[in-house]
């Protein structure tokens, strides 16, 4: 079978174009955040909440969930992100606000007791759920969303930094992974996306 190479090349181009178009067209909306529809599995976890009780994703089913990994001793990215997200939620219309929940997952269970997480998240607002769990469960969750975290060697005072994802994973009211918010996005940009998801316009 001898198909001229030019015809084959053209075929490949058409094929890759089709793949590209298919990749772009699964959303009819221009999101400010990165659209991750279909790329990641539904929200699922087995963790411990800020009262020390075991919880799963069922706990706040039906809400748009903004999941973020961090630790309470985090010097920069965690407080900035939590502050940003709580501003996003605070300025939403009441109707939408009750359908949005921020999930702060501490990946530093050694230092972050449920009580410590509770004080930490309460400082930032009232629609934030603090979560943590055994390292194994946290590894499982981060692997599920294709991220990771690592611990630095502790200094003489026992302090150490934790490397973790800077992104916010947004799940819609059905628990499907929808958006990945990058750290550099502004409050207004995030709010626009969250409002659309919370009011069911997308």
């Amino acid at each position: 079978m001898n198909i001229p190479a030019t015809v084959q090349n053209r075929f490949i181009w058409v094929l890759s174009l089709m793949i590209l178009i298919a990749g772009c067209s699964n959303s009819d909306r221009n999101w400010n955040a990165k659209d991750i529809s279909g790329l990641m599995p539904e929200l699922e976890y087995e963790l411990i909440n800020a009262s020390g009780e075991p919880v799963t994703a069922e706990a706040n089913a039906g809400a748009v969930r903004l999941m973020f990994f961090g630790f309470t001793s985090c010097p920069d990215i965690c407080p900035t992100t939590l502050q940003k997200l709580s501003r996003v939620v605070k300025e939403l219309p009441d109707e939408a606000k009750k359908n949005v929940e921020i999930l702060f997952v501490s990946v530093d269970p050694k230092r972050d007791t449920p009580e410590r997480i509770k004080n930490y998240v309460e400082f930032f607002g009232d629609r934030i759920t603090g979560l943590t769990g055994p390292e194994k469960n946290l590894r499982q969750l981060s692997k599920r969303y294709r991220t990771t975290f690592g611990y630095e060697d502790p200094d003489e005072k026992g302090n150490y930094a934790v490397s973790h994802s800077g992104a916010v994973y947004v799940f819609d009211r059905q628990g499907r992974a929808r958006l990945l918010v990058r750290p550099e996005q502004s409050v207004d940009e995030i709010r626009e996306d969250i409002l659309a998801l919370a009011t069911g316009r997308a």
Binding site: I3, Q8, S16, K34, R146, T148, S163
Partner: protein, 280 residues
């Protein structure tokens, strides 16, 4: 702390991948023991074949895969093995006699059903298409939006790695086909060298673009966290160098190997032999 055994266990366990490797090694061993001793490859070739297969396995189903997912330069190293080094070793080990022996074991009645595989193979082995696919796949998976998605989606990630491995096997088999183009219809030596040169240039350009870009080209490693704290610029620089230098070197090495084969074949050329007879 992780024990040594844990480093050897897969980070992302893939039963299909393990099955594929078991089948390849199993059939290879079955062919080796079943074939007549005169045709059997020597110990060195068997070793090179197994080394190539195990290298590819190691970067897909050990802890190495974890680092490939969270460090750009380790990811480039993974593809260097899947798309270059592993397939090069497998092709150079010349498993053709083993495959021919295995093919003879297939009942004659079944062989017509394998014909479509042969057609697809022959289309993919057109030198122009094979070369285009070889660097085209590198460009496709390193195109920033696609790379981002591939690192986020488990399915896409597996498609990416398997497509690189299969394409690497096809391309390097075309280049290092042990059959001489003088006596068989294997690709001519000149065309093989041309293919190697053609695929080297786009890889060097891409590598250089990554190395010299000031901003972050692949921010997915920023967004999803790195395996250990390394400055992003260093990670990108190392990854760019791995895309640029080793593939270029492998192309040159490949050209030298082909050149040697061409010279050897030229000496043994039937026309020369006849010329010798005539002059003697």
């Amino acid at each position: 702390m992780m024990s040594a055994a844990e480093y050897l266990l897969p980070y992302d366990f893939s039963p299909l991948t393990i099955l594929a490797y078991v089948l390849v090694l199993g059939f290879y061993a079955y062919g080796l023991f079943g074939m007549p001793e005169s045709e059997r490859p020597g110990g060195g070739r068997i070793f090179v074949f197994c080394l190539g297969v195990l290298l590819c396995y190691a970067v897909m189903q050990t802890r190495f895969d974890y680092y490939s997912q969270y460090m750009f330069f380790v990811h480039r190293g993974q593809h260097l093995i899947l798309h270059h080094l592993g397939p090069i070793l497998i092709a150079l080990s010349n498993p053709l006699p083993v495959m021919q022996h295995l093919y003879r074991q297939i009942p004659k009645a079944l062989r017509p059903y394998l014909a479509p595989v042969g057609w697809i193979y022959r289309v993919l082995q057109q030198p122009a298409l094979a070369s285009f696919l070889f660097f085209g796949l590198i460009y496709l998976w390193l195109w920033p939006p696609i790379h981002f998605d591939a690192m986020l989606s488990r399915d896409l990630y597996w498609v990416m790695n398997w497509s690189m491995l299969l394409d690497g096997l096809l391309f390097w088999w075309l280049i290092f086909d042990p059959r001489s183009p003088i006596t068989t219809n294997a690709l001519g030596y000149g065309k093989r060298m041309l293919c190697l040169a053609v695929v080297a240039i786009p890889q060097m350009i891409l590598g250089a673009i990554i190395v010299f870009s000031r901003g972050m080209v692949y921010d997915v490693y920023e967004v999803c966290g790195r395996a250990w704290p390394m400055p992003p610029e260093t990670d990108q620089l190392l990854g760019g160098l791995l895309t640029w230098i080793p593939p270029a070197m492998m192309s040159i090495l490949g050209i030298l190997i082909i050149l040697r084969r061409a010279m050897r074949d030229d000496v043994n050329r039937p026309t020369h032999a006849r010329a010798k007879e005539v002059t003697q």
